[in-house]
């Protein structure tokens, strides 16, 4: 399987300051192309940091990350922006761009430093907005959107970028149940087959819902990596979250619940 991995993380170490302890060490995972992978773990375990390393915003300090067989450092900024997109957990947008203007920014890697979006770029923007059923928001200000709308608009921005890999940081955090499912459904049905999706979450349910593979992080290293059903079992989750947890299978679906102390 390692041969087919699109993203090969091997023995990765990272810390923000050389005087501090490693945020994670000996982190390894081979993430296959064309699938949805969830990165799980409690808050502060370094999930966002890992995403930032994958887009090249933070350096590979020790260990290696290979993307499609080449080391991550060998890619130019332009190549990277065609390969990997990012939807951050929160985005502060200081000016009231319309949804259409904002989503068009996702075309930046195809437009270049001095260019402006062409008719064709605008058509792609319109098409993605249509696919995500966001046409009615087109002329609305991004500052007026609800949490769920804003998340979908950010995803639309990353979709028009047309990356091979899309990273999402906590895409379902702070969303109500309806919006959470809408976002997960978009990730699965609109992106799942063409794009390799990697998302972080602290919610095992989200991983069970759409992911094929899971990377469970705990303490300063990876606790387990592999198919969701195997990685996210009661023992691993209990260890990661420091709480007795059991996973039950009901009607073919996995239910994560706190283990009853009495039983």
């Amino acid at each position: 399987m390692n041969d087919t991995a699109l993203l090969q993380i091997e023995d990765l170490f990272f810390r923000y300051d050389s005087s501090q302890a490693w945020i994670f060490e000996h982190l390894s995972a081979s993430i296959p192309g064309g699938e949805i992978t969830a990165i799980l773990g409690p808050n502060g375990v370094g999930k966002t940091t890992l995403l930032h390393i994958l887009i090249g915003l933070l350096p590979v300090q020790k260990g290696s990350v290979r993307l499609a067989g080449r080391s991550l450092e060998s890619y130019t900024r332009a190549e990277m922006s065609h390969l990997i997109g990012l939807v951050p957990q929160l985005e502060r947008i200081p000016f009231s761009f319309t949804v259409s203007e904002y989503v068009a920014m996702g075309r930046a890697p195809h437009i270049g430093l001095l260019g402006t979006p062409s008719e064709e770029d605008q058509m792609r923007v319109d098409r993605v907005l249509e696919i995500l059923d966001l046409q009615t928001l087109e002329q609305r200000s991004v500052q007026e959107l609800s949490g769920g709308e804003a998340q979908l608009v950010r995803i639309a921005r990353a979709m028009v970028q047309e990356p091979r890999i899309l990273l999402l940081d906590e895409p379902t955090a702070h969303l109500d149940l309806g919006n959470k499912h809408r976002v997960l459904e978009v990730l699965q049905s609109q992106l799942g087959d063409r794009t390799t999706v990697i998302f972080t979450t602290h919610d095992p349910d989200a991983a069970f819902a759409i992911a094929g593979e899971a990377l469970l992080m705990h303490g300063s290293s990876a606790l387990a990596f592999g198919p969701v059903g195997r990685v996210l079992d009661g023992d691993n989750l209990s260890l990661a979250y420091g709480l007795p947890i059991e996973v039950r299978r009901v009607d073919g679906r996995f239910i994560v619940m706190r283990k009853d102390e009495a039983s």
Binding site: E91, F95, L113, T116
Partner: protein, 330 residues
Amino acid sequence: MRVDRRRLLFITLGVALLASFFLSAFVGRYPRPFWMPLRLFREDALARQLVLALRLPRLCLGLLLGITLSATGAVMQMIFRNPLVEPGFLGVSQGATFGAALSILWIGSSWSMYGMAIFFAMAGLFASYFFARRMRFGGWVLRLVLAGIVVSALFSAGTGILKTMADPLTQLPEITFWLLGGLWSVTWQDVLHVLPFAIPGMTLVYLLRWRLNLLSLDDETAWSLGAAPARERSLLLFGGVVATASLTAVAGIVGWIGLIIPHLSRRLFGADSRYNLPGAMLLGGIFTIFCDDVARSLMAGEIPLGILTSLIGAATFIALMITIKRKQRT
């Protein structure tokens, strides 16, 4: 529909700018207040001389000044992600003033004045940015504005000291009048001196106008879209500040244009700087030419341009802020 409205706006502003430029050549105090009949331009040699040698260079410089201050204000607002900054708030204008005063006092050649103005304008910007980064309280917006006020105050104190040291008969009046901000002594030579700084700076800003949107987003987002946020922001700031400093070296401190015009343009064209940046350039040109018309024709003596722009700019700003729709508040 929106595209048509935008096109119409651009055409209107373009025509207004051209009209105000050419009509303003006939506005002034000669031969009588406000208006020189076109006939005179053909018949009166003095009138022709006045228009060609005094008013035209002055108009060109006013146009450049308006374009540069507005565009640089827009760039700073986007890059610092703060709709309340302008060159005058971040130590740029005060820095340029200090540099130019220093040059009047000790060096005296006009090229050194540009060099010193640009150097200290950059120093002012960097100092503001640096202090804002180091400040221990408040959000980024507040810190940046506070740091800008502090740096501007330091530079104006420095300029004050230079004034006490200046020769009261020759240098002091020069510094004082120039500090008030105005275009009365502008010659074709000044225009030629400013061009090599202003044109490349503004061309750069204009070409990168769509990119500017990207640079107003969070670093991680801009980065993931292929931008190098720190480098590209510095490049744009450099272009804007060099142009602003060179114009400040000639015109003195002309405030408020860089704050109010980008706001106005954002109101007309929306947040996308692909459109509002050229819009701000056009509006800035019109506004500055208009203010300078008033400055030289309203009273027998000149009213300093900086005073007029502050008066009109501050009043407009208050009006805009009070009437601003809630959804547009940023």
